[in-house]
Symmetry: C2
Subunit: 239 residues, 2 copies
């Protein structure tokens, strides 16, 4: 029972690697006929999975997707709604849109009962400073994902502007501002940059691979050795 549904899920799981797959290969892996694969592709496409096939080439997925589990509890739903509300308020437009769309899908699917006009018993109010520098965040996120070296113009607390190449490792949210931790090629060390103080930000065209002593793990290991560092940082970041 349900073997078909399982196969569809596994198909998506395979296609998530973003690479090319022929129906023949998929049929071999899943131990069904090619015909079945073609039918499954129809089903997936009809369900909104962005899979595309090209004659003579194979199948690929436009963008990675994932299939969530099938049951969330009320409290998980509430956590989701709160999280999306915060993201919608405190993150850059790219993530805002995603958060809205995600919550929309969820609410749209849970369409039946509607207890009150205001469904979720909370509001989220972020600070203006969190919004400054949002323009750079999509690029920074992509740089973290794909390992791109960025060139930024940064205005320090002392109002001095420096231009430098950085290898972004992680962004941090402090409830009021966003920062980006990176390996700074100018200073040859780890630095954290308040994203609202980044004046320019562009790709250099160079990429970077994880390098001993320059990875996010190294950075986190370093910071965690000094227990006072975190509190200090908060103080500095938010004054």
């Amino acid at each position: 029972m349900m073997r078909r549904a399982d196969r569809l899920a596994e198909l998506v799981e395979i296609l998530r690697d973003g690479r090319l797959h022929t129906a023949r290969d998929l049929a071999a892996v899943l131990e069904v006929s090619e015909r079945t694969i073609y039918r499954d592709m129809d089903t997936l496409a009809a369900s909104g999975v962005p899979v595309e096939g090209e004659r003579g080439v194979g199948y690929m997925m436009r963008e990675p997707v994932f299939l969530p589990p099938l049951a969330l509890s009320l409290i998980e739903l509430e956590a989701l709604a709160l999280g999306m509300a915060i993201v919608g308020e405190a993150a850059d437009p790219e993530l805002q849109v995603a958060a809205e769309s995600l919550l929309g899908k969820v609410e749209g699917h849970a369409a039946v009962r509607r207890r009150s006009p205001r469904k979720w018993g909370f509001g989220v109010y972020a600070f203006e400073t969190a919004r400054a520098g949002f323009v750079h965040m999509p690029l920074i996120r992509r740089a973290i994902r794909d390992g791109l070296v960025l060139r930024i113009a940064y205005r320090s607390i002392a109002e001095e502007v420096t231009e430098r190449d950085i290898r972004p490792l992680q962004t941090e949210y402090w409830g009021r501002v966003w920062t980006c931790s990176a390996w700074c090629e100018l200073r040859a060390g780890f630095r954290s940059f308040r994203i609202d103080r980044i004046e320019k930000c562009a790709e250099t065209g160079r990429g970077f691979a994880p390098e001993l002593g320059k990875t996010i793990e190294d950075y986190l290991a370093m910071s965690s050795t000094d227990p006072s560092a975190r509190e200090d940082k908060v103080g500095i970041l938010l004054r």
Copy 2:
């Protein structure tokens, strides 16, 4: 195609009302035999949906669940992960657990490719003040959901402690502290309480229904007429 799957989804949709349903009624609505309903219930239970049947009584769902849509994009996944990270850091344990469990389900299901040890390129660091008063939040959330009057002991900024009955309407997250907006029966007006300053909090046993002039809509309509109110509030809340 997929008629069975659709029926299962509709079954959950019906059971979401949290009330009692007999197999006979469900069979009538879905236009299948009772036997099929029993088989479907097996399937749902096997899929982790918390549905329980009691002989001689009927079927009920322990806690409301919902079935998410089947495809999320990468950026939506990232928004979800960020949201859950923030909730996990800045909300009370009940929501923390839910956020963790939700993200766990999602990641567990998307188990295959794992580009790097650190999957999400961000960290979230909340303030200690956000954590104070967390003990009361589950009760407050329930009171908002179910319309319960609460009796609280509140220590004002001036350090005066008052005891009062309130009708909680909404909680707000300000990036650093949580507040609860409520109709205050003592002052006969809307008040916002910093949750970390609530010393005691208990049910009164009384409930309340939406009442003209005392609803969350009235409150929001009122606050929005004064554009400066919000900024003031932030200043006060966060000093």
